[in-house]
Subunit: 335 residues, 2 copies
DNA sequence: TGGAACGGGGATAGCGTTTGCCATAGACTG
DNA sequence: CAGTCTATGGCAAACGCTATCCCCGTTCCA
């Protein structure tokens, strides 16, 4: 039974209404005397207003929800960081929800955040294209919007609305082009989680670059964005003959490939070049060449849009730039 | 304006009370006919109850809050995962709050979770010993408990209560002992964030092991758990003369040391052994020797305690085991 | 046959806030 | 001095639920 507004009012000898007005910056005037007594009473009993009750009546709450596909994935962590830093500055609280890439959980969290009357929701994490519950998701999303929340997507998702994202396809294409420019002809690819829109965009980029250069894209292995999947892809490349270079759909699986190759005694980048996509912090840890895709900035921009007091264009779409980070795992193809 | 219970009731032609009873498993009987109409009405208009209103009136809500010190830190990410998996199973929702290691934010989130009437709170992240706002934190914590939430700490914190944790001091001691057993005598140490209880426990462990072995622990550098700090510590070791082995307060800074050394052409583990503490996934990525400290299990156990319908001992303290993971960055000291 | 027991349902009091509306009392304005 | 502001404050109605209390019929048993 934490202190309630009624307790404060009683202690200060005023009505609940007056106490409320003194504590939140109401335009209704309150005498300095009363205000003083209220403030003193409030912190004497350690009062802090119930956000819940506030949200219920005002239909607004200073929280931003971030729905991510996987908390441990540095991709999302970085986006989240961006959201948080901006939110904090604007005195918003950020709550992170991990959907574990399950649409059902996304819907649940969306509903929860709607109930909480979150000011905005950053919807991160690419979904699956052929989602059977897409309609339900869309419904939940609509309701959130209807309830007044600003929703901004951070990954390409089939539904419209505000978007702040990176161009995964383009990023993959650029990285592939770079590999090609280094003289590599046979380039292998380690795919991401099947069906995920992010995975598919990256794969399209890879394929497009290869096609444009007139190269065969026949060296592809399944993957799931995880280290282990990169590792086993690496082993398979090892078994079936090494290509000139290998591109992985994300950094973590790229590191898997790298480690598998090096452990087998293959020189990277002397014999084979390896690259990832994402520019996450782990790529720096192992000096992996990758494409940096402004993740932090993506989150920050999304939060800025939500917080911004003036403009809110529910259909504005922003694509943030990416940049190739040439590091120690790629090199010109040996002559 | 999402559908409310009143809408459902109206559409089904029953009272709000009956609708409520049909939709949540009330003990009050409802005829199959009415129930059917209500259910049909509910999903026709896509009704989902307001957790907020529910929480307000029942004082209970199926959510578990996790307060972490830093989302991007794999340490916390792993704990969070454990919480989530168990929570999901029990049909609870998990919301993650990143305090950015600021006590003020911890207090804010604690209050928020109290308002939401969270069923439980997993308080992760070691605090700073000499915290000026410790009293406020304690107050917020007390209120949360008073409001009925089960609070379990995951890191050693000055305050009492339920605890599920790992013994950081012991883990550091064991790792140091292991290094000593490998024949190393001059062992360097890269510290964690100054003042953090976790940092201090690990350092104590290191010092204890060195003292017991009668070795000088004079090779220590400041650090902050980040990659860069490990890197610069590595550079300093390089400049001032290399020890036999280097232990870092966590994996990430250990990797920093490792990379700095290797880039300078120093053979690890041939010339110098390097180890970390934490057993996080990144350590696996670079094959770093480390101490695995059951992080996932810590979170899972904490969540289990919260969810468990029967027992709740608000003072039970559990210490989970740790295990040395010998990998490729340590070796016997060359003779 | 009286009444207890039970199946089924409705009214309504909160939960802790904010806020629109009304009341009171000085202070001003002509 | 009547009329009008303005500063200050209280009352009470929501917000969307759950839970308590009450009511109305049946059925069943002594």
């Amino acid at each position: 039974m934490p202190a309630s507004l009624a307790d404060v009012a009683r202690l200060a000898g005023v009505s609940i209404a007056t106490a409320s007005r003194a504590l939140n910056g109401s335009s209704h005037p309150v005498s300095p005397t009363a205000r003083g007594r209220i403030m003193r009473a409030a912190d004497e009993i350690g009062y802090s207003p119930s956000r819940l009750a506030q949200a219920l009546v005002t239909g607004r709450s200073p929280v931003i929800g971030v729905i991510v596909g996987d908390v441990v994935d540095p991709f999302f962590a970085e986006v989240t960081r961006g959201v948080e830093d901006v939110a904090r500055e604007g005195r918003y609280m950020t709550i992170i929800c991990d959907s574990d890439r399950r649409t059902g959980a996304e819907i649940d969290y969306l509903n929860l955040l709607r109930d909480y009357h979150a000011a905005g929701i950053v919807f991160a994490g690419g979904g699956f294209g052929e989602d059977p519950r897409a309609a339900d998701l869309q419904h939940a999303l609509d309701e959130v919007v209807e309830a007044g929340a600003r929703v901004v997507s951070v990954a390409q998702r089939p539904f419209g609305g505000a978007l702040v994202a990176v161009d995964n396809e383009h990023a993959a294409r650029d990285m592939t082009d770079h590999l090609i420019e280094l003289g590599h002809r046979r380039i292998g690819y380690v795919r991401g989680i099947p069906g995920l829109t992010t995975s598919e965009a990256r794969q399209r980029g890879f394929l497009a670059a290869m096609a444009t250069a007139g190269l065969q894209a026949d060296l592809q292995y399944e993957g799931n964005f995880r280290y282990e999947s990169g590792q086993s892809a690496g082993l398979q490349f090892l078994a079936k003959g090494l290509p000139d270079a290998i591109l992985a759909a994300n950094d973590e699986s790229g590191i898997g490939v790298l480690m598998a190759l090096r452990q087998a005694g293959v020189g990277v980048p002397e014999q084979v070049s390896v690259a990832g996509i994402g520019g996450t912090r782990v790529s720096q840890l192992v000096d992996l060449t990758t494409v940096s895709v402004a993740l932090y900035e993506t989150g920050a921009e999304a939060a800025r849009r939500i917080i911004d007091r003036t403009v809110w264009d529910p259909d504005r779409r922003t694509i943030l730039p990416h940049r190739i980070l040439v590091r120690g795992t790629t090199a010109r193809r040996p002559a």
